[in-house]
């Protein structure tokens, strides 16, 4: 079948043109300065990277990492028990539940986020219910919590699915053996289940953390424009300020962040299941 190697040549050409060259361009941009007209008048400089270490931008990075981490941890706390519950069901029920988990995820991401605007708004559904119950309406939208909620909602399945797929393959006899030897439930969980499910946790962690770190839509729609996260900063540089060089530098930094993270976690996650869902 070696004769069929040439079948990949069109794609190799495509890959070079649309994956590698663009990344090289971004890389070149990040190390140069010049005007947005891109008239070729580029000067080599590391100014863009130095600029990123201005406290202002570090703060943006800090805030993004902070929110992304928080949402990842919430996803883990909510998702782990869920994955465990599902994995304990019989195969038929399990498949249905997983399907139910996946369905909302395939609905347009914008619409899902928009749905929360409808729910959380000052005159939204939640406040309508609260008023009906005789309480004073609350302020749900346009704050940290709304952004967090949006992230958790959008990315929760990315946490549940990898954990679930590890749990399901776990050798039940190990758990039974431990129980036979007198370990209580907590001990079984801490000493056996959790350590064995770590690869799933790690891959879920990256799969939530990564999109949460780079989002600019959730922060824009649910944060009421008062959030400058790293995704918004890239958007701003490319679309509003027109400083593609600085924007490229931020993109490179973010990419480095994520690829290094991936490299570390791929050690845990040998099956490379990550990423295939987004």
């Amino acid at each position: 079948m070696k004769q069929l190697k040439w079948l990949s040549y069109p794609y190799i050409f495509w890959m070079i043109l649309f994956i590698i060259v663009p990344l090289i361009l971004v890389f070149i941009f990040s190390f140069t300065t010049g005007d947005i007209r891109l008239n070729g008048d580029f000067q080599f400089s590391i100014e863009n990277f130095q600029r990123f270490f201005d406290p202002l931008y570090l703060k943006v990075l800090g805030k993004s990492v902070n929110l992304a981490l928080k949402s990842t941890i919430i996803c883990l706390l909510l998702g782990y028990p869920m994955a465990m519950i599902i994995s304990r069901e019989n195969i038929k029920k399990r498949n249905v539940m997983i399907l139910l988990f996946v369905v909302p995820m395939w609905m347009n991401f914008l619409l899902r986020t928009y749905a929360w605007m409808t729910l959380l708004g000052k005159n939204g559904v939640l406040n309508f219910l609260i008023k009906k119950l005789g309480f004073t309406p609350l302020n749900f939208i346009y704050n940290d919590n709304a952004v967090l909620l949006g992230m958790v909602y959008n990315f929760l399945p990315f946490m549940v699915l990898p954990i679930y797929s590890v749990l399901i393959k776990m050798d039940r006899s190990l758990i039974e053996a431990a129980e036979d030897l007198g370990a209580n439930k907590v001990k079984v969980f801490l000493k056996i289940i959790f350590p064995l499910s770590l690869p799933g946790v790690v891959s879920g962690f990256t799969m939530v953390f990564m999109p949460a770190l780079s989002t600019f839509v959730i922060s824009r729609l649910l944060g009421g424009g008062q959030y400058m996260l790293i995704g918004n900063l890239i958007e701003q540089q490319f679309l509003w300020t027109g400083d593609w060089h600085f924007g490229s530098a931020i993109s490179i930094i973010m990419m480095a962040f994520i690829l290094i993270g991936m490299a570390i976690t791929s050690k845990f996650d040998k099956e490379k299941e990550g990423g295939g869902l987004w």
């Binding site: 947005i36 708004g121 000052k122 005159n123 009421g224 424009g225 008062q226 509003w240 300020t241 027109g242």
Partner: protein
Amino acid sequence: MKRSIKYVLLILLIAIIGTVFTGCKKDTDTLNVYNWGDYIAPEVIEEFEKEYGIKVNYSTFDTNEDMYVKVKSGGNSYDVLFPSDYIIEKMIKEDMLLKLDMNNIPNYKNIDEKFKNLDFDPDNEYSVPYMWGTLGIIYNKNAVTDKIDSWDALWNEKYSGQILMLNSQRDSIAISLKRLGYSMNSTDKDELEKAKEELIKQKPLVYAYVGDEVKDLMIGEEADIGVVWSGDAVYMMGENENLDYVVPKEGSNLWFDNMVIPSTSKHKKEAELFINFMCRPDIALKNTEYIGYSTPNKETFKLLSEEMKNNDVAYPKAESLKNCEIFNDLGEFTKEYSRIWTEILAQ
């Protein structure tokens, strides 16, 4: 199997023909119009298409800055743009606009003289006025009982969580500068620094930094007080009678949005035809009635209802504009404004 391969090939063929077809359609007789969101009466475009047999490809932008970057960075070919004063000044300086041939725009005569030959385009070589207005405060009379006549109201802790600011760097910083008694065209770093401090102080009180959503939020009474452009205020007050609009006494921004043709346009003739069409009194009337903004077209003004002609929000008396300023292009200093705005949002 053979059949399915044939099938696939057939679909592919159709697909390719389809792409070529849509690709071709684009170059002949389409006019790319790039305007602010919600800034034209939809039927006007249809009428233009019908009357001249030219297809209009209409797209929208949110802020002057975002339009400017899109046009400047290339990779598109817009034919008619609707920028504001200071951006027009900047685009002229940077040689991004085509000179108009006013012989092709006979309706230019309908424009009131006081909107012609303004500083940003001294001989109106490049631009034709479209709409004008002020920037001010809209508030809900039921919730806000104090007399609102100053930008200070937006810093009043009483309205914490009820304040809407604009997600537009130039406008929001201008408000802070004006409130402190500085010029909104300030290029003094200390003044800007103070304006920034004030905006950061204000941030915890702000409900959201918004664009067009301000209309729904105020009409739906989800917020009590906000910053809007006069035309939107006219529209909102029409929808909710509890709302009122004021131009603060410290002064505000007086602005003009004009139609221009970028130098990358390949359809100058058609673009001029479009601009001319937009200046026709009946068409300009449809636009001004639909979007609520004030027309610079004196023939159209005559067609307005008496009530509208005397509307202080849309057509304010000269004395209420005495402290108002028009934005200037700040050149390289614009970067400082961007930086400050990032700093405010990053808090």
